[in-house]
């Protein structure tokens, strides 16, 4: 009982010993905050990556893909049907995206992905990342009549940071066509004033796309259609009523497409390709839904040839991961298959590059992957989980966390030496008292126990304080961030660099317990040497000590 009372008494009366424990407190608090923030980041990143990539990706090695997605899907269901929640086929090829901004052509390297709009949203979070609420419910490659979000629907901030999107859709398209028409008419007026010519030739020459969008179409006649072709079918009965002998040689004239009423095949580019944020935090757009872009991509032949086509932007994709938002561009899979020549002419069976699979919750993706790998030979197919695909990135984050933990634990270990030193001095100071206790019959181990207990008590106090501070900081980290930003005038956490708006934190009780346990072990361990010294003191000599 004397050990308990003395421990408690020393704890209460010797405040300076708490100074030695400050390092323990700070170390524990820092470790808790860092681990929570990194766990939060890691989890957010993983769930975003997981949202972009489905659970499993089944793909072939060739650019031409593999035929008959349906058969492959049936095979997959046959072996793993119980685990599969949804599947969708995709075609993906590297491509170049071109669009005009104020007369200048901008080219971007992209991943051109054909998706099945009916099933694609089932395998990931694709739907969430679109900018029009109706598209989020069900994607359509038809341009919408306005209603695009002027604020970021995935953040909590309702302020419109995207005023340019107010007109996006048909209004923007019509405005643009109008402007071009006005421009064209002015030009014609000037021309007519300078060079009065035959009106008929003029009419023939004034084709609708004499704007900068004019191009020589490939020999394949352009087909204006959407996934569910409704009113945008080729107006074949609207040829001009002239017997122009040049008509045949100029395949594109005669097919008047009225861009204010019709669109090309819909395309959904990543928002990073089309926008930037200016200094006042407002997003500005180089192109908007309603604008047209060109994409150049390889066919599925051997060797692949480059083909180009025009598309109309119908929405933007924003996963908040710049790697995908500046790279991905989505079109209807049927269009891409057709344009690349992936459709077998006799059977009509199309090839695909990949099948994305979503598994039921709780299913282990690695098991299903291994099962599929056994069935589909590795020479022809590759099956990967989403983790496999992003392995290096996630592994890097894990390694950072491990290194940080080691470094921070060193802080606590350093604290151990402080405790050792202070305890040693306390034992020296208490030499006489130890002698007294021994003269009263306290055993050597009992006396040592006082100091071990004292070390334990200090460790618990320090770690406990560290826990309280660490949790307080973690749970209020965003308010603290705001405070620090206000104080220093610097942006501490820029959402445009990181993927999130608020610093995400996840407090893992297991991790926290380990941190506290480690800290206490260090505190107790540091008191061992002083305790041994106390135990070894000779009663007579100790009593003589002042």
């Amino acid at each position: 009982m004397y050990k308990l009372i003395l421990c408690w008494r020393y704890l209460r009366t010797r405040w300076i010993a708490l100074a030695s424990v400050v390092s323990v407190t700070l170390g524990v608090a820092t470790m808790i905050v860092v681990n929570s923030v990194m766990a939060g980041f890691s989890h957010e990143m993983q769930s975003r990556i997981h949202g972009v990539l489905s659970d499993l990706v089944f793909e072939s090695h060739s650019l031409g893909g593999f035929p008959d997605a349906r058969w492959h899907m049936d095979e997959i269901l046959r072996t793993s049907g119980d685990d599969v929640l949804g599947m969708t086929a995709t075609v993906a090829v590297p491509a170049m995206l071109n669009f005009q901004v104020r007369g200048q052509w901008v080219t971007r390297q992209v991943m051109f992905i054909g998706i099945d709009k009916k099933t694609h949203a089932q395998v990931g979070d694709f739907g969430r990342y679109l900018q029009h609420s109706l598209n989020r419910e069900q994607l359509s490659f038809d341009l919408r009549e306005g209603g695009y979000d002027t604020h970021d629907s995935q953040s909590d901030d309702p302020t419109p940071k995207r005023p340019a999107m107010e007109d996006a859709g048909w209004p923007h398209r019509r405005k643009r066509v109008d402007r071009e028409r006005i421009w064209r008419e002015k030009l014609e007026a000037v021309d007519a004033a300078e060079h009065p010519t035959d009106r008929a030739i003029d009419t023939v020459f004034s084709a609708t796309n004499n704007s900068a969008n004019a191009e020589i179409e490939p020999l394949v006649p352009p087909v204006f259609e959407n996934g569910d072709a409704t009113d945008n079918a080729l107006p074949s009965n609207e040829t001009p009523a002239t017997n122009d002998p040049f008509l045949v040689a100029r395949p594109q004239e005669g097919r008047t497409m009225d861009p204010s009423q019709e669109q090309f095949v819909g395309i959904v580019p990543g928002i990073g390709l089309a926008s930037y944020r200016d200094v006042s935090g407002v997003d500005r757009f180089l192109i908007l839904p309603g604008d047209d872009v060109k994409v150049t991509f390889p066919t599925a032949g051997t060797p692949p040839k480059a083909v180009s086509d025009t598309f109309t932007i119908v929405d933007f994709y924003e996963s908040k991961m710049s790697e995908y938002d500046s790279n991905f561009v989505f079109v209807p899979i049927e269009s891409l298959q057709r344009m690349r020549g992936m459709i077998e002419p006799q059977t009509g069976i199309a090839s695909v590059n990949a099948i994305q699979i979503k598994l039921k919750p709780g299913v282990n993706p690695e098991q299903v992957r291994d099962r599929l790998r056994r069935i589909f030979p590795a020479e022809l197919y590759s099956v990967s989980t989403w983790r496999d695909k992003q392995g290096p990135l996630l592994a890097a984050v894990d390694m950072e966390m491990a290194v940080l933990n080691i470094l921070l634990f060193m802080i606590i270990a350093v604290a151990g030496f402080g405790i050792l030193a202070i305890f040693y001095m306390i034992v020296v100071e208490k030499t006489r008292d130890i002698g007294i206790l021994k003269s009263l019959g306290a055993s050597a181990s009992g006396v040592a126990g006082i100091f071990l207990g004292y070390g334990l008590a200090l460790g618990l106090v320090g770690a406990g304080a560290g826990l309280a501070i660490g949790l307080a900081i973690t749970w209020n980290i965003n308010s603290i961030r705001v405070g620090v930003e206000w104080l220093t005038g610097q942006r501490v956490f820029d959402p445009s660099i990181y993927y999130f708006f608020k610093i995400p934190t996840i407090v893992n009780p297991f991790t926290v317990s380990w941190i506290i346990f480690g800290a206490v072990v260090i505190a107790v361990g540091s008191s061992v040497l002083p305790a041994i010294r106390a135990a070894r003191l000779h009663p007579v000599e100790a009593l003589r000590h002042d």
Partner: protein, 263 residues
């Protein structure tokens, strides 16, 4: 006079003859102790024989350096002799295991020192309870706590410290501190009390008070006491004076009848 049982004319003393146990309360035989210092070694005790009868109050008198404190420490099991025996109630105690020796120090032998040696963080009451706090673990303490407290209170009251129970040593005078130390030595009901120059740091008035206290404990409670001193007058308060010179007993002394006071 020899080592025969101690006669007491007082009333409630423990009398050896009555209980039939002949062994002395404590005895040492041929005890030697030397300390290494620098190059050579210093022989402090060179073969000491001593007997303390039950109920006896003896003084060990000697100059400084005569080894008297060392002898007391050996008797109190704070140290071990290089050779020789130390016996308590006839049983040899210097060769016991350390845990048994710890136990004896806690239960059977009470010690009082010149510098009081109270624990500064504890109150007077807690200091008195200290041997019991060492004796009992947490569970036992819960059982015996109230008994222990009442025993401590009783002792403190008896020594006139009732009002000072919760004061820390810093708030007590020298005489009060020594009385707390005596109370502490007695709380576990030891068989023998060893006092090393108990009045050494006190003024003559307080010192006299302490000696009175010791005398009463011996006469009224029959407590066997060994007191170490260098002062003749103080030694004269005991029943028998043993003179120690250069590590040897020169004179085992005669019972001092003048001290025996009728109750």
């Amino acid at each position: 006079m020899t080592n025969s049982s101690f006669h007491a004319s007082g009333d409630s003393r423990m009398h050896v003859a009555g209980t039939g146990i002949d062994a002395p309360m404590m005895s040492v035989h041929g005890v030697r102790k030397s300390y290494r210092s620098g190059a050579g070694s210093l022989d402090v005790l060179c073969g000491v024989d001593l007997r303390l009868e039950r109920g006896e109050f003896i003084a060990i008198k000697g100059q400084s350096g005569s080894g008297k404190s060392t002898l007391l420490h050996l008797m109190g099991l704070l140290d071990a002799p290089d050779s020789g025996e130390v016996r308590l109630a006839g049983e040899r105690i210097d060769t016991l295991s350390s845990s048994r020796r710890d136990r004896l120090r806690n239960t059977s032998i009470g010690m009082v020192f010149q510098s009081y040696h109270l624990l500064p963080e504890l109150s007077a009451m807690e200091n008195v309870l200290a041997p019991l706090l060492v004796r009992y673990g947490v569970l036992d303490w819960i059982r015996f706590r109230s008994q222990a407290r009442s025993r401590a209170c009783e002792l403190l009251e008896r020594f006139g410290l009732g009002a000072r129970m919760h004061h820390t040593p810093r708030q007590l005078s020298g005489g009060e501190m020594q009385r707390v130390a005596i109370a502490r030595a007695l709380v576990g009901r030891p068989q023998v009390l060893l006092a090393d120059e108990p009045t050494g740091n006190l003024d003559s008035v307080s010192g006299a008070g302490i000696l009175d206290t010791l005398g009463r404990l011996n006469r009224e409670d029959g407590l066997s006491i060994v007191m170490v001193t260098h002062d003749d007058a103080i030694a004269a308060r005991s029943d028998r004076i043993v003179r120690l010179v250069s590590g040897l007993v020169e004179d085992i002394g005669e019972p001092n009848d003048a001290v025996i006071v009728a109750a």
